[in-house]
């Protein structure tokens, strides 16, 4: 098992939902190899990354009652992840992690970083505070990565 964590950024092109992808972009700029930091569109990509024996760090935008741009850290399991979207083509993150753990397709423990956003519609620009938060989070994660 490598000590180096695997970063996955969840996102889309829509407004603040780009936050996870921006974190990954920034990590690449800092020098994290592409194999260690990947931008994905759907949580179920986790199943196919062969990372069950690695430390997994997820970065995602979230709808959060707090201030836009607020960064929060979650540890899974042990936290009830919000499952706002139910659809069979877009498995909610909690279900993906539970099924992945059951099938040994993802690690038993996952760290999740979220950035609170407010605009998620097609054509929306990313909020300046979300962009800033994504860069800030990536810098912090890179510090941890470079010392792992």
């Amino acid at each position: 098992m490598t000590n180096r964590p695997m970063f996955l950024g969840l996102g889309s092109h829509h407004g603040d939902d780009q936050a996870g992808w921006l974190v990954i972009d920034r990590l690449h700029q800092c020098g994290v190899p592409a194999a260690n930091a990947v931008a994905v569109s759907s949580p179920d990509e986790i199943w196919h990354r062969r990372i069950h024996d690695r430390k997994l760090i997820l970065c995602d935008a979230t709808v959060d009652p707090g201030k836009v741009g607020t960064i929060r850290q979650w540890s899974w399991p042990g936290v009830q992840l919000p499952e706002l979207h139910h659809g069979t083509h877009d498995f909610p993150l909690g279900a993906v992690l539970t099924l992945g753990q059951t099938l040994e397709l993802c690690p038993a423990k996952v760290v999740i970083w979220t950035i609170a956003g407010s605009r998620f519609s097609a054509g929306d620009e990313i909020s300046p505070s979300v962009r800033q938060a994504a860069i800030s989070l990536a810098n912090t994660l890179y510090e941890d990565f470079s010392h792992a």
Partner: protein, 433 residues
């Protein structure tokens, strides 16, 4: 929830979209059963009016995240018929390859995560995974193959963007497709194992005298082209669909239901109908497998739809491999056309069954009218009919209300209903005060 006279399943789980089931009893006998679809109507036909015809494939794809390719295929074929465009064999093959990807991802999902838990009394795919980890892992890989194929051709797995009226916006990268061959060789064998697995399932006994309806083609297992075949009436060209199948509204559903004229009877769409009507046009490996697992000729048990899905996954892998090994991108990727005032109709086979599109366009290439009839809305009446039959029989036995509800939900799931598709439109009557 049950209160003695009414059994409510307030939210159907492991189906696409949101629906419910209400079973009303009177003096211990079945009084009424309603598959209640309460998702808000989505008005896609209205949205298309006045738009350039080129918008139709991408807008209609948004009706569904599971079967966007079906909407793209039905829309481009209907519009090409209106425009008098005859696509090349190369474009035709690439469209079949794209459809194979969608069938694989949709069917693999339904077989492994949505429907199989029912046969083992498990409440979810996660519970099933604890009992059958290898099988569920296999299902996830199959689903991913389907998604990868759609993404390689269409640019992305959900709501692909490469399909165009007249062909494709571009030929997909050849190497991206070739890279899939190795996975698909594994997938073909894995799909056959999945079919053998489902042959061992304990199937509830329910037979119905269905009218099976599906697109049928003399030379191939129909996906994009063919006439409309029926197990009870003569085959008709797709152009005659509106004269034979009509939609109507029922109070308990935001999705229109459909019936077959002249008797206004229910009919069944989907994999069971397709395999029953077109079994001899399945690829040899799928046909032989159907014989090996003892899949009945003209199977009329709706629960065995899961086996038909598996046979179609085998077919789709076999056909996809054949096309992937002989990629031919010679000729134009998109044919030119001149806009003209016309009407075009097409029916293709979405994973859940026949999907009909009709467009009227004007001389400037704008959409004047659009009509979309998805498979789940057409199947609603048949689902309720099956529920009535099952419940009527079960009420003569000592089945608990909870078991009645559970088995009714299982029966609904056997159709793999896509409720989001079904609620694309609501017929509105405007009244002047």
């Amino acid at each position: 929830m049950t209160d003695g006279e009414t059994i409510n399943v307030p939210i159907l789980t492991r189906v696409e979209g949101e629906g419910a089931l209400t079973i009303r009893l009177k003096d211990g006998q079945l009084d009424d059963v309603q598959l209640r679809i309460y998702e808000p109507p989505r008005m896609f036909e209205t949205l298309l009016r006045g738009r350039p015809l080129e918008d139709a494939p991408d807008i209609t794809a948004r009706i569904c995240g599971i079967c966007p390719v079906a909407y793209q295929m039905s829309s481009v074929h209907a519009l090409e018929q209106a425009l008098g465009v005859a696509i090349t064999p190369q474009i035709r093959r690439l469209r079949r390859l794209l459809y194979c990807g969608e069938w694989i991802e949709s069917h693999a999902l339904h077989v492994h995560l949505l429907h199989t838990p029912d046969f083992f009394g498990e409440s979810s795919g996660i519970e099933l995974a604890r009992r059958f980890p290898d099988e569920v892992r296999r299902g996830l890989r199959l689903k991913k193959h389907g998604n990868d194929l759609v993404a390689a051709i269409g640019g992305r797995a959900i709501h692909p963007v490469n399909v165009a009226v007249g062909g494709f916006h571009r030929w997909p990268p050849r190497e991206e497709l070739r890279k899939l061959i190795h996975d698909f060789e594994w997938g073909l064998q894995a799909a056959m194992e999945a079919a053998r697995w489902t042959a061992s399932f304990p199937y509830p006994q329910l037979e119905n005298d269905y009218e099976f309806v599906a697109v049928s083609h003399p030379d191939e297992y129909a996906m994009n082209e063919g006439d409309i075949a029926s197990s009870k009436l003569s085959t008709i060209p797709v152009d005659q669909y509106p004269m034979v199948f009509v939609e109507h509204q029922v109070p308990h559903s935001t999705a229109l239901q459909a019936v077959r004229l002249p008797a206004r009877s229910n009919y069944l769409l989907g994999p069971l109908s397709r395999v029953n009507l077109n079994r001899n046009r399945l690829r040899p490996e799928a046909r032989q497998l159907a014989d090996e697992i003892g899949f009945p000729a003209m199977c009329s048990n709706p629960y065995r739809g899961i086996q038909a899905r598996c046979l179609e996954v085998v077919h789709a892998y076999g056909e996809a491999l054949e096309i992937l090994r002989e990629l031919d991108f010679s000729g134009p990727h998109r044919l030119p056309y001149q806009a003209r005032a016309a009407v075009g109709r097409a029916a293709t086979e979405a994973p859940r069954g026949l999907l009909f599109h009709e467009y009227e366009i004007d001389a400037a290439g704008k959409i004047v009218q659009a009509r979309i009839v998805p498979p789940t809305s057409q199947n609603q009446g048949q689902i309720e009919c099956d529920l009535r039959k099952q419940l009527t029989w079960q009420l003569t036995t000592a089945t608990t209300r909870e078991a009645l509800a559970r088995q009714a939900e299982q029966l609904v799931r056997s159709y793999d209903p896509c409720i989001s598709c079904a609620t694309h439109f609501l017929k509105i009557q405007w009244k002047n005060s």
